[in-house]
């Protein structure tokens, strides 16, 4: 159960990136989470409200996109997607695969923000 510390890192990271958008309010935070990342999405969502309270992310929605496992199969000389996590074998040729290309992601893909009064004013000045 380390989801609270994961969510806390997300909040810190997004808050930091908001420095470029003064006064902006976050509406949505989109994550990419690998099937092999050892993170439980339900627990992330459960922690979200608590971790965002009193931050510029308060009231925002958490959207999690799962990233499937992709292995490189040396036998087929191709990247192949695995259906589950119970067998690391190529679904085409059934040979074991140990070269992981995707599936451990744990990243913030993007955020949707509503510009604040300060940044709107700045934008107008630039125009």
């Amino acid at each position: 159960m380390h989801e609270l510390s994961i969510v806390t890192s997300v909040v810190e990271s997004v808050t930091e990136s908001l420095e470029d958008y003064p006064g902006a309010r976050v509406q949505e935070v989109r994550l990419r989470v690998g099937v092999l990342s050892a993170v439980v999405v339900d627990s992330l969502e459960f922690c979200w409200g608590l971790a965002t309270e009193g931050t510029p992310l308060e009231g925002s929605k958490l959207v999690v996109k799962m990233v499937p496992i992709v292995m490189h199969c040396a036998h087929c000389a191709a990247d192949v997607e695995l259906d589950g996590v119970q067998s690391f074998r190529c679904p085409r040729c059934d040979e074991p695969c140990s070269d992981l290309r995707q599936g451990r992601e744990l990243e913030i893909e993007s955020i949707e923000i509503e510009d604040g009064a300060a940044s709107e004013a700045a934008a107008i000045q630039v125009e």
Binding site: A38, F88, P96, E107, E112
Partner: protein, 227 residues
Amino acid sequence: MTTRIVELRRGILKKNDELAASLRRRYTSAGVFVLNLVSSPGTGKTAFLERTLRELLGQGARAAALVGDLETDNDARRLAASGAPVRQINTHGICHLDAEMIAKHIEGWDGVTLSGLDYLFIENVGNLVCPSSYDLGEAVRVALLSVTEGEDKPLKYPTLFNSADAAVITKMDIAEACGFDREQALKSLNEIRPGIRIFETSAKTGAGMSEWLAFLVEAREKRESLA
């Protein structure tokens, strides 16, 4: 008010990953080979590590250990019986070690410096889930499982076993009494991490320890030649 999407594409554990990368560079330049030992509570990490330290010291190698637990310094005291320098990390409720805890504990360690070591073992908190997300800058991640835990443990915890570089089966001396199905255990490990190096050991009888120690020496030399 306008709404817009800002692309961030930023790793959530970026801080940990960056710190782990800088630790890895420090370990390499100091010439110390670092291993991260991960298992469930009760697998026998401490007994296995104590024997490993004792045997390495007996061969004239310089080895030390950091040991993570939620509370108590019991494991540090047990490991210190090997004669190696040992430092306890108490996480006070946190279920894994992270790079920051390691960075903090390799400083101000009673006369121990990275460049004065050949091997540094990090015994992680007993947990088969969370430690898999946190890079500690180690050269080798070792997953341990005991003969009492069930041969399908790797299938139940694929995220951790898939991230391991080597696997150690412990308590082989009681395998028969437990009805341990060796073939099934090896098969489970190979399903989740094809080709993984597997050591079948007993800290009590010393079975399998010579293969494990030979692996340590060989893996360290290989790393040194790459550095």
